[in-house]
Symmetry: none
Subunit: 410 residues, 2 copies
């Protein structure tokens, strides 16, 4: 069979536990979702531990696994993916920080950790810092995220992530002088402290802050940094699996995950990462992308949001909106596509947090060994033909079903 | 959700194979056990390979796995757990031996390897040896077990387990001079040989042996040692999983397993480790312990005894007595407890030995994804919502269900 295409649908936080409010059913068991169930009934189903049984995954470690990377071997923290998410083209060895635009007085005392939750002008402020060259040949890459949030990447020889935060984590305290936490952290600490000085020098009289002063708003004249992490050495997914891959996601962290593994990130109008996201637009964008890409990964964040907020009925409705997305795919998918639908982890409504409960997974496409599972939910999937697999197993299975696996042995 | 408690019930050797005498059913399939089945019907079920598929576990390696330790990485032999089981407070790096109180003549020839299966006075004899200081700063810790059985621990710098046995393993032979089997065994061999000399010197005229001579019984004037093993470096379970743990067991080896991982061992009147054990007393002790401990592990040895003895009907009756224990738990358990019931391995009646057959496992408690399994047995469990897991997966799953897991990633 010729090589086919892979569509990987990741419904964030979709898995759940029985909920008293839903008569001890899960949201997936409760929702009306004829199209999702159609894919289950015409596919092969199973349960999947995103990392391993009993391990409660983050979205980042789980997406790494679903993209074919052993997160227990390569994960170095969330910072590098956040940086990639705001558009910094991170490279192996870069040191990434999460940051806040903040307000300090002339004595470097923090008077507002979020600079009055600044919204406008953040990209102009960021542009004034991006590209700075610091002592020791260290290059600054800096981007604003949503509101006061930002990401900093330091690039240069001899840098390490083993440094303290410049963010004092409380107002009234002065911006912290950064120190090494291990012997190889000296150059990074020196660079971060130089960045802090440059920040104030460049931002204090920046036109955006002049305007803010006129409007009686606190200036965004400092960047407070936290959570240093080194960008891991991830072989680009295209090279690793000999394919052309694209990601579609609304939220920054997941866009960052996609970029960090070398996927093209496709922007979809209306894909917000929130409950109001346009899922059908994502489905159409995925169908369009499958014309030119071999692997298209789509993240839908909404079920996770419902889980974290403890909203059982909203999670049910979100699944019903996902079903409309599946209707679009059912019509639009050609026989050249192998589809997988799953979650990156469970976010049980009763917990308002992630859990280690395995998630349902279905695979649909020509050649799949269709089992007798009729519905896509946590209980039905346990009887499916896939059995209980791990997140790291999924992409290899899809590569094989799509005629893209390599023989081990002769 | 708040942190909850964990009750881990380990029915030793419970798993079995179809038995012709039972119309080709297993003892679990044959037994009347409405309460055990109630837990299965209201819980989630599966099969568990204590170590891995096809690996025939010992009780020690399996309990290690169920307690969350990778026995293939940390197991060094049974000796350290036997020593802990008779009450020696073993420490990492100690060298433990299993021993027999025995009778030798003046030429050190073994005339009775079990000193006439001595029962009385063994603890007095042991006390005379416990605390000895040997050449080279080696300290002796010595305790009697049941009948002629005993355990020796050597504690000191530079000791290794790589030595031969002093037990010649046959009567008529002289007590063996212990030699190193690897280059680092010299100090240990020297210490064991010194212990052997001290043994005879101290025990030959001990009042217990004077009494035995008067009664025409062979003196227990020697300790024959075998199976040297080093106490592994096991991070205490309390630190490892941030909880307070207790174990309830009738037999010494399992008490030793519990102690070796840092559990408190609770003594229960009537818990013998034999077929006559008072299982309801164990259930009540567990319920009481759950008021102050986060994790309570209970071992019931009786099914394993039936398996080793090849007694099919006795194993059925033992399961029916286990069911009375489950009735007690069903009434007494509060919603703050997550319960797991399983076995450490199968001990098929037809084999009279352990086998690698996976064992049934059920998990019951708030939040569990109840499946449609109605009975607790080896065949029904295979269709459950847990699928097929490993022993090392179980505690992480229980920690997550009880709100005690930590997130991997963000």
């Amino acid at each position: 069979m010729d090589r086919r295409k892979i569509l990987l649908l990741i419904f964030d936080g979709l898995g759940d536990r029985p909920i008293p409010e839903l008569a001890r059913q899960t949201p997936l068991q409760t929702a009306r979702k004829e199209h999702l169930d159609w894919f289950a009934a015409n596919g092969v189903n199973g349960l999947m531990d995103p990392i391993a049984p009993g391990v409660k995954p983050g979205s980042d470690t789980s997406h790494l696994a679903l993209f074919g990377y052993d997160s227990r071997a390569v994960y170095t923290g969330r910072g590098p993916f956040e940086a990639a998410g705001v558009g910094i083209p991170v490279r192996r060895g870069d040191i990434a920080f999460r940051g806040n635009l903040a307000t300090v007085d002339s004595k470097m005392r923090v008077t507002d950790r979020r600079a009055g939750r600044i919204k406008d002008g953040t990209h102009d402020l960021a542009a004034a810092l991006d590209g700075l060259q610091l002592d020791g040949g260290v290059r600054v890459l800096f981007r604003a995220g949503t509101e006061h949030r930002a990401a900093l990447v330091l690039r240069g020889a001899g840098l390490s992530p083993h440094v303290t935060d410049s963010d004092p984590h409380e107002e009234g305290a002065v911006v912290a002088s950064v120190a090494a936490t291990e012997s190889n952290g000296g150059a990074t600490a020196h660079a971060v402290n130089a960045f802090t000085r440059e920040c104030f020098r460049i931002l204090k009289d920046h036109p955006v802050n002049m305007e803010r002063a006129k409007a009686g708003l606190p200036p965004a004249n400092m960047v407070l940094l936290r959570g240093a992490g080194i960008v891991p050495d991830l072989e680009p997914i295209g090279e690793r699996f000999h394919l052309k891959a694209a990601g579609i996601a609304g939220v920054g962290l997941i866009k960052g995950m996609c970029r960090a593994v070398g996927m093209d990130v496709l922007e979809v109008a209306g894909a917000t990462g929130g409950l109001d996201t346009d899922m059908v637009a994502k489905a159409n964008a995925a169908l369009e992308a499958l014309k030119t890409y071999d692997l298209v990964a789509v993240n839908v964040k909404a079920p996770d949001v419902c889980g974290h907020d403890g909203l059982a009925n909203e999670k049910v409705r979100t699944i019903e909106r996902i079903d409309a997305m599946m209707a679009t795919l059912k019509i639009g998918l050609g026989p050249e596509v192998v589809l997988a639908a799953t979650a990156d982890h469970s976010t049980p409504v009763m917990l308002k947090d992630h859990s280690a409960d395995p998630v349902p997974v279905l695979i649909f496409g020509e050649g799949v060994r269709v089992d007798d599972v009729q519905k896509f939910d946590e209980i039905s999937a346990a009887k499916g033909g896939l059995g209980r697999i791990r997140g790291l197993d999924l992409l290899p299975i899809l590569l094989d079903l799509s005629g893209r696996s390599e023989k081990f042995g002769a």
